[in-house]
Symmetry: C2
Subunit: 326 residues, 2 copies
């Protein structure tokens, strides 16, 4: 939640001159996005996002992210589409940073997701996975199973200051997941961060998916598992099986999960919970004193992880296993 870089009006006007999006009327820094500086622009042609990519985003990954958004938009996935300059470029430089102009999507993210939201997200995620099949670029997931132990090692020494016994809990879970993580499930483009604040709705209808800056190639069902964590728990951390059923059924209508994917779902959900637990824990332990941005609570994910540890099969998420041999 920060604008890291301000932009002078004359610099911005010069930058916009290479685009065909009308005259600048206003621009406002947006208090969203911890990785980048985002501005909402009004021009005589409409509304746009201006994103300046700050240091935490690898410049080399930007063609993947922008290319993916263009690819998905061309495959009828509603997502922000990078605007091209008259020379056909989607990436420029502004205020010394890589910068892009992106279509502004109207919509409101659901602060209190309901069953209808979960179903809409399930359908959209499956369509995203299908649309990603012929996207030619690749990006490894730095936050998949191989990335977790380095995160654990950053946090291990101080983990028990956050919760007694957390170090041992994380260590055991990591050992468990590393030895069992599946290597043969269908892979493809995943969003990898499809939390409620990255899904926009107008009224009850999904109006778009946003924030593709964690997108990568990984196990498709791992993306499903991330959404189970992100959408199907209540504010008191209880699991809402009605929401999970709605989400999984809507996903399965568009892209049925294979038997192997269904069987792996509890394990993948444990992995997804551990991934967010670890990144939140590292952030929590490294927040500067007095910082205005309150770090997200890592312990929320301890509770979610314990829940997934108790799930034996996909029935624990509210749906019957399908496609079993008769």
């Amino acid at each position: 939640m920060a604008v890291y870089t301000d932009v002078a009006a004359d610099e911005l006007a010069a930058f916009l001159a290479s685009y065909d999006i009308g005259e600048l009327l206003s621009y406002k820094g947006i208090a969203e996005g911890v990785e980048n500086s985002n501005f909402l622009l009004h021009t005589t042609a409409g509304s746009y996002f201006l994103t300046l990519y700050e240091k935490r985003v690898a410049v080399g990954d930007l063609p993947f992210f922008l290319g993916l958004m263009s690819h998905l938009a061309a495959h009828d996935i509603v997502c922000p589409q990078p605007v091209k300059t008259r020379d056909g470029k989607t990436l420029g430089v502004l205020a010394g940073r890589p910068a892009a102009i992106i279509d502004f999507l109207e919509g409101v993210w659901p602060r209190k997701p309901n069953v209808a939201h979960c179903a809409a997200v399930g359908e959209a995620l499956a369509k995203l996975h299908l649309a990603g099949r012929d996207f030619p670029m690749k990006r490894a997931n730095a936050l998949s199973v191989k990335g977790w132990r380095p995160l654990f090692e950053q946090a291990a020494a101080r983990a028990d200051t956050v919760q007694h016994g957390l170090n041992a809990f994380l260590s055991a879970e990591l050992d468990y997941l590393e030895t069992r993580w599946p290597g043969d499930l269908p892979r493809g483009i995943i969003h990898a961060d499809l939390f409620p604040d990255n899904a926009l709705f107008v009224g009850e209808s999904l109006s778009g998916l946003i924030d593709f800056y964690f997108a990568c190639n990984d196990i498709l069902a791992y993306d499903v598992a991330i959404c189970l964590n992100a959408w199907c728990f209540e504010p008191d951390h209880s699991f809402n099986v009605t929401k999970a059923r709605a989400f999984l059924n809507a996903y399965g209508k568009e892209r049925p999960l294979s038997e192997a994917e269904q069987a792996a779902l509890p394990l993948l959900a444990r992995g997804a919970a551990l991934r967010f637990l670890l990144t939140r824990l590292v952030d929590f332990l490294n927040v500067p004193p007095g910082a205005l941005v309150k770090p997200k609570d890592p312990l929320e994910y301890v509770r979610k992880l314990r829940f997934h540890q108790s799930v034996n099969d996909i029935a624990g998420y509210g749906v019957a296993q399908t496609g079993l041999p008769a």
Copy 2:
């Protein structure tokens, strides 16, 4: 630069139901305004600001601010106009805070003000002073001469940690201004904070004045003196007499300064410099360690104040004194 309060979509929808501004399409927290939480709304009817008033704004002052904006807008001063509910109210409650919907003004504030900007602001300030004459409400200026000594006392003990000798410098200036501050100059509604980030332009044209949350009743020429400080110094703190001349001439065309006002201008400019020096110094000394918001440099105003101390009469600001007895 912060959104202090987030707003849930369903709460916002319920709040908007009492207004006649269409259906909500999106809302984004804006990284501007240190006193309030501001959101840019898009509805089917257009763009609006939603402001939640945080604790630092006295609730009792809100009818003055909102009433003033309505009054000025009715007198052809382009400024954000509070939108009324169907019941005719401009102030409601959202997320536990006083809240208002305000017209969104297009425009960009000048990061590098030029002579044309200064002239436009001079004209607009004079028109604002004239339009304020028949506004019936009153609000004292807590940051005029009587408010400076309490600020000084908050900062005095640590002032020399910021600059050697600053305590004595401030103390002497305060003594000087308190004994000479004029009591008989024309008074009225002043903006009191008309810095470049509160003046919007589309191209070269002023499109509106914003942020009336310091507006009050005080000496009109004191507002002129604030603008001399805010608009007529270069980034290297040198005084740009061409900008000052353009500003003062444009102001004087709409509302000629009286002889007494002209004679008092150097003194008023010293007072304005001291006011911003003191509030910045207090903020600077009280910023929490590690805070993301960098406090503004108080020493910029030491340099400005020293400049005004060297000015004997309005000719020092680039214009000949007018209206002297023949």
